[in-house]
């Protein structure tokens, strides 16, 4: 894959994540507004911004990343306790957040430049000193012209180098790729086999490299190990022999000292371990001591030289006498070694900051940067669910199959029955039935698991509202508090996606039209702060969402007037209308009661769209309102659109399915309980009277009242609609079935009586009744 294609893929991946992060930022920044010093929250906000910046820059959104950097800075300061987040900052940060979103979507980020600049300037005012350097990149190591140079490189990795996951030989190999190299390993440090720890590195390398690569390139090889390794690079121009490049003499000495000490340590432990004093070993030791001493003299390290002199003397005596090294001598050697080690260590500390590499800039930590202390060490309260993004088509196919399996299993009882009754194989029939039951259980599990994939908490929709309500409040000088309840209530993904717009409208209406200004509220004896509640909960197979405000409420009389004025209903119809129906007028297209059209709502488009959107989701909308006390809009939605249980019934030879959650009860009602009055049937059951209709008549010719006689016992489904219960008389109950409701084609979308169709276990098609359509 070429890099351009990679970049494109990166950008897509980033956009997806950024959208999520921005939504999360929205809600967490608002929380932060009420708890500005909550460390966890600050960290969360910071982390989200930080990710947007980092990942964004990698994905190539440079303008966006540069802009985000400034926002990040603000929260970094806050996180470090150097400033406290105020309302103004949140305002600005929210604005910045929106800009980030726009920058991501904009094909031409330059257009937004002036807005960005304004925000950046505003942000800068909050920062301790606006003079902070924006660019933190370190000065690049000087670019030497590509001259061929001879480099003498000494590299001694730290003994524990393997534990940092570095194999030093890789680095040596890497050096070799830079030019013509001659590598010699220094093996003096390797102890005898019994003292050799295979997990330690005892080696050092000398590399003579002739290369036209700039010295920075060579240093880069050691980038990850420069702090803990001994690295020396001496360079000179290849054609000019002679002069040795100047090196740090003290560092030089310390290098030798370090190596020698390591070797001595190996020798001493060898001595400790063996009774015999190996002559060769002692000679070896002596040689090292002498080299060390020579170096000490060169460096005028008198103390070290003196210590070494003592040791050399001890050892020389021991070797010439040719006997076993006396214990006393061993102890003296040990002591001498300890002193030397301490001395070298202190010299090393004095030398700290002296350059190991020639360009000290590379080593210098960036002082302008801010430490990120203690971050991440705190347990994050917010649970981040691990997730996989799956193509929706794949998921739908899976769901479809799982659903079909559920329906297909309905064939087993039929088969069992057939075997028993038609073929006289009742034993076989039972076996088939058992197998069917087993498959059935698995199918149910599968179904439940698969459906839960599609389910999403309504939180994703709710989280946009705090921001929205806040903005409305601020824009209108109102005090509005938004309460969210039941954010974990789960709904089908499709429903979640489509419910957002209607909800936006309803919440807007509640905050903008419903809630009065603080003064008006006070006069009415209410709290100055208005309350809008957004609540979701499960009810049977449905999810109910309520939008409640404690504002001014709606006036049915005025609604009627308005509707008549606009010619939506006739005056006589208005006259006959009860309050409940009058409130329903608000769902008519073209009706708005707002005296003034504000920028936010009140154009009279919307409520009708709201209702039709919710209808498309097979949901219902009802409204309650009390003048002066507020309004409540209730949306009832099926939690899942796909598979549901149903009751299969027969009416006039046709099969129909009632969604099981709409059926309150199924009874066989004696026909004396059925009464007819004013062209309507009624039934009484358990002291309740409810309207009755005959399913067959209803669908045959909906408006006609049939006097046809009732059988002695009437099979009756008592169905819950959003206007109360009604009885639906059928000819026969067949049984309970699992159905996948498939929406009817577009041509039939207007038919409110049916939710859709379903295919039965035996392949026939049945219509699924929409109980709301009975009204």
């Amino acid at each position: 894959m070429d890099i351009a294609a990679l970049q494109l893929k990166m950008r897509d991946a980033f956009r997806v994540e950024a959208t999520d992060l921005l939504a999360e930022l929205d809600s967490s920044m608002l929380e932060l507004e009420s708890r500005p010093q909550d460390a966890d929250l600050l960290n969360r906000v910071f982390r989200a911004i930080h990710t947007i910046k980092g990942s964004g820059a990698t994905a190539g959104f440079n303008e966006m990343a540069a802009f985000t950097h400034h926002v990040e800075e603000l929260f970094d300061e806050a996180r470090m306790g150097r400033l406290i987040i105020t309302h103004e900052m949140i305002d600005l940060a929210l604005q910045a957040k929106d800009l980030i979103g726009q920058l991501l979507e904009s094909g031409n980020p330059a257009e937004l430049e002036s807005t960005c600049t304004q925000v950046v300037e505003a942000l800068a005012r909050f920062l301790p000193q606006s003079g902070r350097p924006v660019s933190k990149s370190q000065a690049k190591a000087g670019c030497t012209p590509p001259q061929r140079q001879r480099h003498k490189i000494f590299f001694k990795p730290h003994a524990q180098v393997f534990f940092s996951g570095t194999d030093p030989i890789n680095l040596v190999d890497e050096l070799c790729t830079l030019g013509d190299a001659k590598v010699t390993a220094q093996i003096e440090g390797i102890p005898s086999l019994e003292n050799l720890n295979p997990e330690q590195c005892y080696l050092a390398w000398n590399v003579e490299l002739v290369s036209s690569q700039p010295i920075a390139k060579i240093k880069e090889v050691f980038l990850f190990v420069e702090d803990e390794s001994e690295i020396k690079i001496e360079s000179r121009l290849e054609p000019a022999p002679g002069e040795t490049a100047k090196a740090d003499p003290l560092a030089d000495f310390l290098n030798i000292a370090g190596q020698s000490l390591l070797a001595l340590d190996g020798f001493l432990s060898h001595l400790r371990a063996s009774k015999e004093s190996d002559r060769d070993c002692c000679k070896n030791y002596l040689r090292i001591l002498k080299t060390f001493q020579a170096a000490a003299h060169r460096q005028n390290q008198k103390e070290a030289a003196a210590l070494l002199e003592e040791q050399i003397h001890l050892l020389e005596v021991a070797i010439t006498s040719g006997v076993i090294l006396p214990e006393e001598t061993k102890v003296q050697l040990e002591e001498g070694y300890q002193k030397l080690a301490t001395l070298i260590q202190s010299l090393r500390e004095q030398n700290q900051g002296g350059s190991k590499l020639e360009n000290p800039a590379i080593l210098q930590p960036d002082v302008s940067t801010v430490a990120s202390a203690a971050e991440g060490s705190k347990k994050e309260v917010v649970r981040v669910a691990a997730s996989i993004r799956v193509d929706q088509d794949k998921l739908d196919r899976l769901i479809q199959s799982a659903g079909e399996l559920l329906v297909a299993r309905n064939a087993f009882p039929l088969l069992a029955k057939k075997l028993a009754l038609e073929h006289g194989l009742s034993g076989m029939g039972k076996e088939v039935k058992d197998a069917g039951d087993h498959i059935s259980r698995i199918a149910e599990d599968l179904q439940a698991a698969v459906m839960s994939i599609r389910m999403m908490p309504i939180r994703t929709v709710f989280q946009r509202f705090p921001r929205m309500v806040r903005d409305i409040g601020r824009a209108q000088g109102k005090e509005v508090e938004l309460l969210l309840e039941g954010e974990d209530t789960e709904l089908d993904k499709t429903v979640i996606e489509q419910i957002a717009d209607p909800l936006v409208h309803l919440v807007r209406n509640a905050a903008d039209h419903g809630v009065e200004s603080p003064d008006v509220r006070e006069q009415a004896g209410k709290t100055r702060t208005g309350k809008v509640t957004l609540k979701a909960y499960n009810q049977a197979n449905n999810v109910v969402i309520e939008v409640v405000d404690d504002g001014r409420g709606m006036d049915p009389t005025r609604l009627k007037q308005k509707a008549v004025e606009k010619g939506l209903i006739t005056a006589s119809a208005a006259e006959a209308m009860d309050d409940r129906s009058a409130l329903e007028l608000i769902f008519l297209p073209g009706l708005s009661t707002a005296e003034q059209v504000t920028g936010i709502s009140g154009r009279g488009v919307g409520m009708d769209v709201v209702r039709s959107n919710i209808r498309q989701l097979h949901g219902t909308t009802t409204i309650e309102s009390k003048l002066g006390f507020g309004s409540k809009i209730t949306i009832t939605l099926p939690a899942s659109l796909m598979v549901s249980k149903g009751i299969l019934v027969e009416a006039k030879g046709e099969e129909y399915v009632f969604p099981i959650d709409s059926v309150v009860q199924m009874v066989r009602l004696p026909n004396e309980r059925i009464h007819s009055h004013a062209q309507s049937h009624f039934a009484t059951f358990r002291n309740e009277v409810f309207p009755l209709l005959r399913l067959a008549d209803h669908f045959a010719c909906a408006s006609q009242f049939s006097e046809a006689s009732w059988p002695a016992e009437v099979p009756l489904a008592i169905v819950q609609t959003n206007r109360g219960r009604i009885g639906v008389a059928v000819d026969r109950f067949i049984g309970q079935v699992e159905v996948i409701v498939k929406p009817m084609g577009r041509e039939f979308a207007e038919i409110a009586a049916f939710q859709g169709t379903t295919i039965m276990g035996d392949g026939r098609v049945a219509l699924v009744i929409n109980p709301a359509g009975f009204i």
Binding site: F14, F163, S164, G165, F224, D366, G376, K379, V384, A386
Partner: protein, 121 residues
């Protein structure tokens, strides 16, 4: 055999970006969402190189490095930190915990590949 690289980052897009980059160079890539996730996944298969973010929920990159070094399997396995410019101190802390090196975010495709090649040739 292709080398297996585990990418640990709580940013899914960052993981994907690293994933695309490495996959395009022929590496096998395993993703993990945080340190804890990485530890679990690292026991299921042999990983030749870890690339980890620092600031993550559940378990951060430094702790992950420490834990990996404590496990027999990964004592010597290269671990590369994904840092930002502003995390100099974290770099040092990471090295102390046993990290091999680092890549500065935002990275260029070539940069990342160069570092991977460097520590895991």
């Amino acid at each position: 055999m292709a080398k297996t690289i585990m990418v640990v980052d709580d940013s899914s897009s960052m993981r994907q970006m690293v994933n695309f980059t490495l996959a395009s160079a022929g590496y096998l890539v395993v993703e993990a969402a945080d340190g804890a996730d990485a530890l679990v996944k690292s026991t299921a298969q042999k990983v030749d190189l870890f690339i980890t973010d620092l600031n993550m929920p559940n378990m951060n990159g430094i702790e992950l490095t420490r834990q990996l070094r404590a496990a027999a399997t990964y004592r010597f396995t290269p671990i590369v930190l994904l840092t930002t410019e502003s995390q100099q101190e974290k770099k040092i802390e990471g090295k102390a915990a046993g990290a091999t090196g680092w890549v500065v975010k935002p990275f260029q495709v070539e940069q990342l590949l160069a570092v991977v090649k460097k520590v895991c040739p």
